[in-house]
C-alpha cells in the first residue's frame, strides 16, 4: 500500500503538469484581461475629426448602445473590416470611431490636421463609412485610459455609457455572430427594444 503510493507520486505530479501544460497549448498568450470591462467610460473631451469645433464627451456615447471602434488609416486590419462594419451599420448597428494617428507624435512635430482628414476621407470613400462620427484622440490619452494596445479594437458600450465588452482585433462575420453580436443584441434588449 505504502509502496504503491510512493510510486504513484511522480505519476500524479506528471499528470498534473501534463494537464496544466496541455491547457496552456490552447490559451492565447496575447489575451489580456480588460480592466475597463463593466466600468463607465473614462472622462474625455475631444474634437470631432472632421469638424474640430464640435467637442465630444462620454455623454455623447450614452442614450443608445454604441460600438466604439479604435482605428487609424495606417492600420491594415481596419481597412479589411470596414466593409463588413458598413454592412452592419446598414442593419442599424451604431459605430462611433475613436481615431488616432500614428504619425502624429505629440512630443515632436505634428502632421497637419487637414492631411489626416484627407487620408480618412479617402479611406472611407474606398471601403465604406460605418461611423456615426469620428472622435479624434489627438494625444492618444483616451486610448491609454481605455487600455488600448493597438488597432482595431472595439468597445461595446451600453445605453448608460458603461463598457460591457472589449474586443481586441477586427469584427468579421464569425466574430460578430459568436461574440460581439449577441452582446450587442442583449444590450439593445436591456435598453428597451429597437435602435
Amino acid at each position: 500500500m505504502k509502496k504503491s503510493l510512493v510510486v504513484a507520486i511522480p505519476l500524479i505530479i506528471f499528470l498534473t503538469m501534463a494537464v496544466f501544460l496541455f491547457k496552456g497549448l490552447f490559451s492565447d498568450p496575447r489575451a489580456l484581461d480588460s480592466q475597463i470591462n463593466g466600468k463607465p467610460l473614462p472622462q474625455f473631451q475631444l474634437p470631432d475629426l472632421m469638424n474640430p469645433r464640435q467637442q465630444y464627451t462620454p455623454e455623447d456615447l450614452t442614450g443608445q448602445v454604441t460600438i466604439l471602434n479604435v482605428w487609424g488609416v495606417w492600420c491594415v486590419t481596419c481597412a479589411v473590416e470596414m466593409p463588413y462594419l458598413t454592412q452592419l451599420k446598414e442593419q442599424g448597428v451604431r459605430f462611433v470611431g475613436l481615431y488616432f494617428d500614428q504619425d502624429l507624435d505629440p512630443d515632436f512635430g505634428t502632421k497637419r490636421l487637414i492631411d489626416v482628414q484627407n487620408e480618412v476621407a479617402e479611406m472611407l470613400a474606398q471601403y465604406g463609412n460605418p461611423y456615426a462620427f469620428n472622435i479624434f484622440d489627438v494625444q492618444r490619452d483616451t486610448s491609454l485610459d481605455l487600455g488600448v494596445t493597438g488597432a482595431p479594437e472595439h468597445f461595446v458600450i451600453d445605453a448608460n455609457g458603461t463598457v460591457r465588452m472589449h474586443h481586441v482585433g477586427d469584427i468579421n462575420e464569425r466574430v460578430w455572430n459568436n461574440k460581439v453580436g449577441p452582446m450587442y443584441q442583449q444590450l439593445v434588449q436591456e435598453a428597451g427594444g429597437s435602435q
Binding site: D33, D107, L144, G147
Partner: protein, 147 residues
C-alpha cells in the same frame, strides 16, 4: 590615466541611457533615474516580451510619454505603477502580486526542495543492514535447498 579611462567608460555606458530619455526634460536627476527605472519595470502590452523602454510599439511610446508626464506632475513610483495597472492589469508590471494563483511561484520551489531534502535524509537514515541480512539469509536457504 586611470580616471580618464574610467570617465571614458562611464561616457560610453551613459550615452545609451541619455539617448533614451534626453527627449524628455526632467527637473532633477532623481526624476530621470525614476523614469529609467519605471520604463525598465513596466511591460509593453503589445510586444509582450519587452519592457516599455525597449519596445518600439506605439503604445510603448505613449506609455513612456505618460510616465514622463506623471513624473513631472510629482507622482510617486507606486502611484505611476498603479496608474498603469488600472489600465492594463497586473500584466503591465514585471513584479507579479502575490495572489492565490501566483503564490505557487514561490511555494512550489520551496516545497520541491523540502521534499527532496526529506527524501535524501530518509535514504541516509534507513538501516540498510536489515535488508542485506534478510537477503543473505534467503541466499543461505537457497544454498541449503540446492545441496
Amino acid at each position: 590615466m586611470k580616471s580618464l579611462v574610467c570617465s571614458l567608460l562611464l561616457l560610453l555606458f551613459s550615452t545609451a541611457a541619455i539617448s533614451a530619455d534626453n527627449r524628455y526634460n526632467f527637473n532633477s536627476q532623481q526624476d530621470r533615474a525614476l523614469f529609467l527605472t519605471l520604463t525598465a519595470e513596466l511591460r509593453c502590452p503589445m510586444c509582450q516580451n519587452q519592457n516599455i523602454a525597449d519596445s518600439d510599439a506605439m503604445i510603448a511610446h505613449d506609455m513612456r510619454r505618460k510616465v514622463a508626464s506623471l513624473i513631472r506632475q510629482g507622482k510617486s513610483e507606486q502611484e505611476i505603477i498603479d496608474y498603469m495597472k488600472a489600465r492594463y492589469g497586473d500584466f503591465v508590471y514585471y513584479e507579479p502580486p502575490v495572489t492565490v494563483a501566483t503564490v505557487w511561484l514561490w511555494v512550489l520551489p520551496v516545497l520541491f526542495t523540502l521534499g527532496g531534502l526529506i527524501l535524501v535524509l530518509r535514504k541516509r537514515s534507513a538501516p540498510a543492514d536489515a535488508d542485506t541480512r534478510a537477503r543473505l539469509q534467503k541466499a543461505d536457504q537457497l544454498l541449503e535447498r540446492d545441496k
